[in-house]
Amino acid sequence: MTPDTIQAMVETKDIILSVRNLTMMFGRKKQQAAQLRAEQKSKEEILKETGVTLAVDNISFDVERGKIHTLIGLSGSGKSTVVRCLNLLLTPTKGKILFEGKDIQTFNAQQLLNYRRKNVSMVFQSFGLLTHRNVLDNVAYGLEIRGVKKKDRIDRAMEMIEMVNLKGWENKSIDSLSGGMRQRVGIARALANNPDILLMDEPFSALDPLVRQDMQFELLSIQEKLNKTVVFITHDINEAFKLGNTISIMRDGRIVQTDVPEEMTSNPADEYVSDFINSADKAQVYQVKSFMQTPSCLVSLQDGANTALALMRIHNVSSAYVVDNKMNFVGVLPLDAAFQVREGKLSFKEALVNDTPTAKQDMQISDLIPIASQSRFPIAVLNDDGKFVGIISKAAILTSLK
């Protein structure tokens, strides 16, 4: 994009955060480095001659309110440095960061604390959780820093814990959680402050691929609900395309292109961008399996209706997915039918709804739209052998089509 088009965007869109000519150098001889940069020397040459790392090199971008902006680039391209400038964990060498039009570098100490307490929250790659506190006290941490009263912060933290599906874990220690659950705590902690902007530095990179997909979906649904602005860092192009409303590709501290995903695919700025995009398996990005979830309520034929009822009650859902002992999908057991089984009015097999549509895991998600509109339940997803592997909700299908 040219500066003019950025200017045009500023005028027409609700820009919450803009970064202007941000430069960040690590090292002593910054002046000399700037001189060399002006002579068009490369990052490596500058490092060799002056010992200065040019981590971020004169970048500008805008983040629109309520949207997800992803920053993507290889390791060392400066992503973490950029995101740490956005809440002044790092002080930029040059350039401006405007939050709602205000230059955050002009804030005094108290204003900066308030900005960090109310406007931006951060989620970290290796979670950054306080291991000496339990889940609840971690989630309440930001509120505690702000001086929120104990009862209020516990209420608020519980609300957030529920939102990230960790209810029942609030008194557990951090060490007892899996990676995915830890990052849920990290997200809940960030959301507890009700910030305008979430800064996420490779939040899902440390997670297993399946957990990662669950988390991506969860982030999308949270974002749908709360309408937060997110600056999301990743080095995974699939993730960037799946989550980002806009994407900036970084290389050696510079932004090579900032655009909406479609525009970037059809009009890559240069070869680097097109190579980068081609490395993404676009078909795969929009496959059903990237959006499916594990059902909270999965029972086998032997378990019977009572187990199904108990699970439905615990997870507060109105249907259970039933498989046989070889994981072949048998049908869906709706809550009302399960009650009838318990009262002896129906047998378990009779109660199952077995004519609901199913989907194959490598189908394109867009192909599911007609099916989704007919189905009463989230659609069961099967693999090539017909085994049950997950479910995909209507919400997931719709968020995928942003």
Binding site: N87, L89, N114, R116, R117, S121
Partner: protein, 286 residues
């Protein structure tokens, strides 16, 4: 003619003994009130600790060790063994000397922690201050303690008070070091997270850094205690009473039995204190 090649030249000599003597003499003559003040202050703390310790009846102490050890180790047999070891000190007639030694150790450790903990935190925040303090700590730890026993006696007299000071000098460095190390090795993202949520420096320190560094800090406390126990005999040479002076008497009068008995009592104290304090901090870690 070329003697200086094989032998250090005799002609050059720098006398540092006299200036040091003079400095100490100067301090004696002019800073008397200051040292008297310190002396008074320490004597007061020591007296207070002694009063508290002496008011604990022997059976209550053994019971406390029994319960403490049981809670720390979760092993009733070990706890019984520790209690029996403590009983043994009384059995060989050293109970009240042990109380005296315990009072000196507790006082020294208390002062070491009160000084060492904030010092460690300051060092962890400032590299420059750290560069300045570290050689002093090294000197405190490696300088043979006899060397500073002499000026301690000259400035503070004989008795338990200079013993406490000598013990503090020797046992404080690990507390400073481990506090510094613990705080510096707190995970970088935890520090960033704290700052990113708008924590002030004080909140960062109290809510994140210190609790996260606690296991390392407690290891420092443990080391400080062990070093203080190691000073028991040395400090008896400047008049500290207790088990250490018993060992010293044994040496002077060539009474091996007397020396060994007190030595065994010191070992038992060290083992008990070590296990009990370690148990206390391992529990916190969970």
């Amino acid at each position: 003619m070329f003697e200086w090649v094989t032998e250090f030249p005799k002609g050059i000599y720098l006398d540092i003994k006299k200036p040091i003597d003079q400095a100490i003499e100067y301090m004696m003559n002019n800073w008397g009130a200051f040292f008297d003040g310190i002396s008074m202050f320490l004597r007061q703390i020591l007296l207070w600790v002694q009063t508290v310790i002496n008011s604990i009846p022997w059976w209550l102490m053994i019971l406390a060790v029994l319960i403490g050890a049981w809670r720390a180790t979760r092993n009733p047999l070990r706890a019984l063994m520790y209690a029996a070891m403590l009983f043994f000190i009384g059995l060989i007639g050293l109970w009240s000397l042990m109380y005296t030694t315990l009072s000196i150790i507790i006082t020294s450790v208390f002062i070491s922690l009160v000084l060492g903990f904030p010092l460690g935190i300051l060092i962890s925040f400032s590299d420059r201050f750290g560069r300045f303090v570290r050689p002093i700590l090294d000197t405190m730890q490696t300088m043979p303690s006899f060397v500073y026993l002499i000026p301690a006696v000259m400035l503070l007299g004989l008795g338990n008070v200079p013993a406490v000071i000598a013990t503090v000098i020797y046992s404080m460095p690990p507390m400073v070091r481990m506090t510094n190390l613990g705080i510096r090795s707190v995970d970088r993202e935890i520090v960033e997270a704290s700052k990113a949520f708008g924590a002030t420096r004080w909140q960062l320190l109290v809510k994140a850094l210190i609790p996260q560094a606690m296991p390392t800090i407690m290891a420092g406390v443990n080391q400080t205690i062990m070093m203080a126990i190691a000073m028991v005999v040395t400090s008896s040479m400047i008049g500290a009473r207790g088990l250490g002076s018993e060992v010293l008497t044994g040496i002077n009068r060539l009474e091996s039995g007397r020396g060994f008995a007190a030595g065994i009592a010191i070992v038992i104290m060290a083992v008990l204190i070590d296990r009990l304090t370690q148990g206390a901090y391992n529990k916190k870690e969970m």
